[in-house]
Amino acid sequence: MMISALRDRLSVRDVRRTMVNRLMLTILMLASVVAIFPLISVLVYVIQQGWPALNRDLFLLLPRPVGEVGGGMGHAFLGTLILISMASAVGIPLGIGVGLYLSEYGIGKIAVWLRFAIDLLASTPSIIIGIFAYALLVVPLKHFSALAGSLALAIMMIPTVARTTEELLKLVPIHVREAGLALGLSRRKVILRIVLRGSIGGIMTGVMLAVARAAGETAPLLFTAFNTSFWPKGIFEPIASIPVQIYNYAISPYDDWHQKAWAGALVLVLFVLLLNVMTRLILQRKPTVRE
């Protein structure tokens, strides 16, 4: 076997060490495979199940009344788009702003507490955030709304964007900032036009990840945006979304709806995949400053 060949060239200790190395390497590779396995199997399963129901109607039609076959979930796709657009409009600027503040001015008690708060927010269960949005916007207005839903989603986006922004800005070495200041530029200009510009690639990554996550959140939407079977009517009205639609269809007893649920899941998965691939591509073309 190999061992005798090895032994000819190495001492016994070396042989044992080499064998242990290879054993460990094998274990690690197995672990990686096991970890990836769920991802691959989910993907395969979703594609298998969802592909058949993927057609134009799905995107263009509204759901049929209960029991009838056909129709689509176009309103859910549009709803999700509207929800994440509104959430991004609020969440991204706020998140970047917080990240900027923490990175550039982040010394002192305020910054410490702010960072703590952001971390807490990041680990808060999404349903709690939903309840908060419920209390804030649903109860006073006395009905569910897209506004409430996007508020919940925005709150969920903020920590991700803020943390990514802060980390990336911190990666920009201090002497780049110093160089900007030494050139006779104000702090504001240095941060916005030089530091931010240098990390914009990475920040976009954070943004896209936050958007991808928001697109897939279900719990907070359950009692804020709620759900409808109609095209979106207005931001003060309830609105459908892909995850909630999937949930509703999945727990129903109708096969047709189950299929549509799978298709919706597939679309969602593809959307998330697309966003991730795009972030990778962007990162490659606009490398962030490293030291």
């Binding site: 780049v176 160089a179 200041l181 050139l183 006779g184 200009k189 240098g198």
Partner: protein, 258 residues
């Protein structure tokens, strides 16, 4: 000793003290630099020369917890006068740092033009003119004139540093501060930049911090020796290196300590 520069003092520090929190980093510094001269600051690590030079362009105060007392006169006016915006001071007193630091994600052209562009000057023809002039002054024009659009970070270390020099020169400061500008470079790039300084001083005044005594001896007209926050001796360079007055200067220069 004969000197080709005028004797007009363009930069003067009077009783300058600076603190990092409780640490008294520079103590009672009296310094001056004549127009069109290169002035070297030497001394062992931690002696306060980097802190001092950062007080000259009001960069030191950007660090939280710092404090400065004393005066720094540029052409007779104290830059620390209440009400004077540090930003405007730094347009007149430029700085080049130890590690070449071109702005990320900016082309060579944009890097050099940054000081003007970001200050609001956008006239294309003017920018082009200034960029070429600055790159020529920094002895970099011939090497990059065909690739002004490529990223600044694509250049070699020595070229990047000359890019930073061009960038600093683009805003036409009368004084240029340099904090160990060649420490991170290879000998050939170092030599190129030293030659550059000798040319540059015809147009501006330079204050350079250096760890390398041979460099101070080669390029500077006057040398100042710092030790533990104090300015021990300020003398004409040839004098400093053939016959320094203070024993501590002598010991440092001959390598008996530090």
């Amino acid at each position: 000793m004969e000197s080709s520069a005028s004797e007009k003092v363009i930069l003067k520090a009077i009783d300058l003290n600076a603190w990092f929190g409780q640490v008294h980093a520079t103590r009672g510094i009296h310094f001056q630099a004549a127009e069109n001269t290169v002035n070297a600051l030497i001394g062992p690590s931690g002696c306060g020369k980097s802190t001092f030079i950062r007080c000259l362009n009001r960069l030191h105060e950007e660090i939280p917890g710092t404090r400065i007392e004393g005066q720094v006169l540029l052409n007779g006016e104290d830059i620390y006068t209440k009400g004077i915006d540090p930003v405007s001071v730094r347009r007149k007193i430029g700085m080049v740092f130890q590690k070449p630091n071109p702005f990320p994600s900016m082309s060579i052209f944009d890097n050099v033009a940054a000081g003007l562009k970001l200050a609001g000057i956008n006239k294309r023809s003017l920018l082009i003119e200034v960029v070429e002039k600055s790159l020529r002054q920094a002895a970099l024009w011939e090497e990059v004139k065909d690739k002004l659009k490529s990223p600044g970070t694509m250049l070699s270390g020595g070229q990047q540093q000359r890019l930073c020099i061009a960038r600093a020169l683009a805003v036409s400061p009368p004084v240029l501060l340099m904090d160990e500008p060649t420490s991170a470079l290879d000998p050939i790039s170092t030599a190129k930049i030293e030659e550059l300084l000798i040319e540059l001083k015809k147009e501006i005044t330079i204050v350079i911090v250096t760890h390398n005594m041979q460099q101070a001896a080669r390029v500077s007209d006057t040398t100042a020796f710092f030790l533990m926050g104090e300015l021990i001796e300020l003398a004409e360079t040839s004098q400093m290196f053939t016959n320094p007055k203070d024993n501590r200067t002598e010991d440092y220069i001959t390598g008996r300590f530090g």
